[in-house]
């Protein structure tokens, strides 16, 4: 009875400071205020001290003339360009080595990871040896090794190795003929676009037909023909609309052509090979995570080993592989800052190296650089997260 009586009354009033909801909000507001105050205090203290010490501050240096040279730039740059321009040169160089490095590391990593699971004793042991050796040597040492190995092994400029096709290789880098498009080359580009669109269309059509009738179509051969054969045919039909700018040996250096610096090559080797060892382990773990029952089930359905791996195991393994793979990509990008040790002009070398030193504005320069790496990493992980959510297990 007593229970019935109480049900109609309003709940016993609790003082607001004892209400857990209000309390937790109050604590969070207080914490935010403290953090905001600390940041404000640190910033105003820094500004005040900089002013007192007569150290220039602000971002006025961005437009000033840099006055130094950079050995590799993908955008036009001279020593009369601004510090801001030098920043973009460094950023492009960082992105270049990171992007190419990620591609190579992924390729090597997947091959080695699968090789570690091979039943062939030699392949299996070789892959294990690679992973255990590379993973356990500090990256900086590997970079120094590659740089010195690359430089020492290559001949002097005067004894350059002449590679058939007009390329030179020496300790100043690899110099290759640069293709220069002539009028009419746009047809070839058009043919490539048509080829890619065509093969995507064919792929979709073939899948639909297979779902309907069970008949398989030679997707790979047709795509190859469309993407490579068609542009080649157009290229010949248009009368070879491409000339090559051959590198020429001058007194000190080789002029013209495309140049790959030894610093770039060493950094790329080092980063790819090092990160690939970790990716190999990620891949191996991912494949191991797929229960053996899946393979057996595929075999019992009559699938052979190759399609089983491609259609059953790898798609399921990818779900396990992608999240740690993302961290490896982020690591590779961040590790590219070790370029300073071997003279590759990446963002850190140019911007927090020379620009910081010449302008003396450490706070601004370091803050910009940190913001850039944070942005690169967040974008990489955003893209990988999108991909991850697409391949994630959809539970019904």
């Amino acid at each position: 009875m007593s229970i019935d009586l109480r049900a109609g009354e309003p709940p016993a009033s609790v003082p607001f400071y004892n209400d857990p909801k209000i309390r937790s909000i109050a604590y969070q507001v207080a914490l935010c205020l403290v953090i905001a105050f600390l940041i404000y205090g640190a910033a105003s203290n820094a500004i005040d001290n900089l002013k007192r010490a007569n150290i220039a501050s602000g971002f006025g240096f961005w437009e000033q003339t840099a006055g130094f040279d950079i050995s590799q730039s993908m955008i036009s740059y001279t020593n009369q360009s601004s510090y801001g321009r030098a920043f973009w040169v460094g950023l492009c160089n960082t992105l270049l080595v990171a992007a190419v490095g990620i591609v190579f590391a992924t390729l090597i990593g997947f091959v080695v990871g699968i090789a570690r699971l091979s039943k062939n004793w030699l392949v299996h042991k070789a892959a294990s040896g690679y992973v255990e050796t590379i993973r356990n040597i500090p990256l900086l040492l590997q970079l120094l090794f590659w740089y010195n190995a690359v430089l020492k092994a290559l001949p002097d400029l005067r004894d350059s190795v002449k590679i058939p096709g007009g390329a030179f290789l020496n300790n100043r880098g690899l110099f290759m003929p640069e293709p220069i498009a002539q009028s009419g080359f746009s047809f070839v580009v058009g043919a490539i676009v048509i080829g890619i669109a065509g093969s995507i269309g064919y792929h979709l059509w073939a899948r639909k037909r297979q779902e309907k009738t069970g008949e398989q179509a030679p997707v790979f051969l047709v795509s190859l023909g469309l993407i490579i054969g068609l542009p080649l045919a157009v290229f010949f039909a248009a009368g070879l609309p491409l000339t090559l700018d051959y590198p020429e040996a001058g007194r000190f250096n080789i002029r013209g052509g495309i140049e790959i610096l030894p610093e770039f090559a060493a950094l790329l080797f080092g980063l790819s090979i090092y990160t690939a060892a970790f990716i190999a382990e990620v891949v191996r773990a991912g494949i191991r995570a797929v229960s053996h029952g899946q393979t057996e089930a595929a075999y019992s359905l009559g699938l052979r080993a190759q399609p089983t791996l491609r259609l059953v195991v790898v798609p399921q393994a990818m779900r396990v592989i992608i999240p740690p793979l993302t961290s490896q990509y982020l690591n590779l990008t961040k590790n590219s800052t070790l370029a300073v040790a071997i003279g590759y002009p990446d963002l850190v070398q140019i911007f927090t190296g020379t620009v910081l030193n010449q302008t003396g504005q450490a706070v601004e320069v370091v803050a910009i650089t940190m913001a850039v790496y944070l942005t690169i990493s967040l974008v990489t992980s955003l893209l990988m997260n999108i991909y991850n959510s697409r391949i994630a297990l959809v539970e019904r």
Binding site: G41, N79, K152, G353, G360
Partner: protein, 336 residues
């Protein structure tokens, strides 16, 4: 709450500045002088096999330690790369930067530094292999040049090639060690730095006889120690330490005869050695500060000959660094 906050903020700000404004007191309280130094340049700053530092810049630090503490061993050397050196001084990690640093207007005004003077008049040069058969820097068009990052050298190099309408491929390294090693392996045709540095680095390449220093000097490089901006007392202490060493050479006071010289009747020497007047106290130091410097480190000429001149493997001619009275540029205002 707001009031407490602003009090804390003020404490943070003032707490931080009082330390930087009284370097002499901070150094005395600490009992040790932190000196930013070059860790790998023979003649200017280099520790030997026993970890004992030697060099012209190192001597200046030891002289400051002798002036402040009466003991030249109270200087601690912190090796800095060219690109880190200014940040280390700005942030208070070192009290004094004596690291063959070129005095330029922008460094003096924008970086929060004050240069105390010039302890070595230098200029930038090039080193090449003899096998290139190059006789002049003007023949280096199109060459690859290895250079250390964060130096005036890096900028002069670009200027010189542009002014002479020559093309250039620069390969930049964070430290002089890496730049020199890359040059030595053949990555570059030429290596460039201050001429004094070239003489010392030439001794470090695999076969010194295969390399020559080209005759051109392409820039003015007045190398001098620097202190933080905004502490005039400390600025004076370091500045007059250098001047005292130069004055001592001019007056013939050496580490060998400083004891006898104390009895000299020459008023200039008496003021220098503190037997007359209170010039040391005026700087916040002891009366016999110069005696302490000269006894342990010697005068400027002794330091020069021992580290980079005839008494050293570098054998650099004094040239511009002779005293003004002997046709050089070293000239110190009088102590009086």
């Amino acid at each position: 709450m707001k009031r407490i906050a602003s009090v804390i903020a003020l404490a943070v700000i003032f707490g931080a500045t009082s330390a930087s404004a009284q370097t002499l007191k901070t150094v005395k309280d600490r009992g040790i002088l932190n000196c930013g130094s070059n860790g790998s340049l023979a003649g200017f700053g280099l520790p030997d096999a026993q970890g004992k530092w030697a060099g012209l810049d190192v001597d200046l630090c030891r002289a400051v330690a002798a002036a402040v503490f009466g003991d030249d061993k109270k200087a601690k050397f912190i090796p800095l790369s060219a690109k880190d050196r200014f940040t280390a001084l700005q942030s208070g990690e070192v009290d004094l930067l004596a690291r063959n640093t070129t005095w330029t207007s922008s460094r003096d005004t924008q970086l929060g530094l004050n240069f105390i003077g010039v302890n070595y008049y230098d200029g930038q040069g090039f080193m090449v292999r003899t096998s290139l058969k190059v006789k002049s820097a003007l023949e280096l068009g199109d060459a690859s040049v290895c250079v250390q990052q964060g130096t005036t050298t890096e900028l002069n190099l670009a200027d010189y090639f542009r002014a002479n309408k020559m093309k250039l491929k620069t390969v930049t390294f964070a430290t002089s060690n890496e730049a020199l090693k890359a040059y030595d392996t053949g990555r570059c045709d030429a290596y460039t730095t201050d001429a004094s540095g070239l003489y010392s680095e030439r001794l470090r390449v695999a076969n010194a006889a295969e390399h020559i220093v080209l005759p051109e000097i392409i820039s003015k490089e007045p190398l001098g120690p620097a202190v933080r901006h905004g502490d005039d007392q400390w600025f004076d202490v370091v500045k007059w330490t250098l001047y005292a060493m130069i004055n001592a050479e001019e007056l013939g006071v050496t580490s060998a005869n400083v004891g006898d010289m104390a009895k000299s009747d020459n008023p200039d020497i008496k003021r220098l050695l503190g037997t007359e007047g209170n010039y040391g106290e005026q700087l916040g130091l002891s009366k016999d500060w110069v005696v302490n410097i000269i006894k342990t480190v010697g005068n400027y000429g002794e330091s020069f000959e021992r580290n980079v001149g005839t008494g050293s493997p570098l054998k650099i001619d004094r040239g511009l660094n002779k005293l003004w009275s002997k046709g050089g540029l070293q000239y110190a205002p009088p102590i009086r």
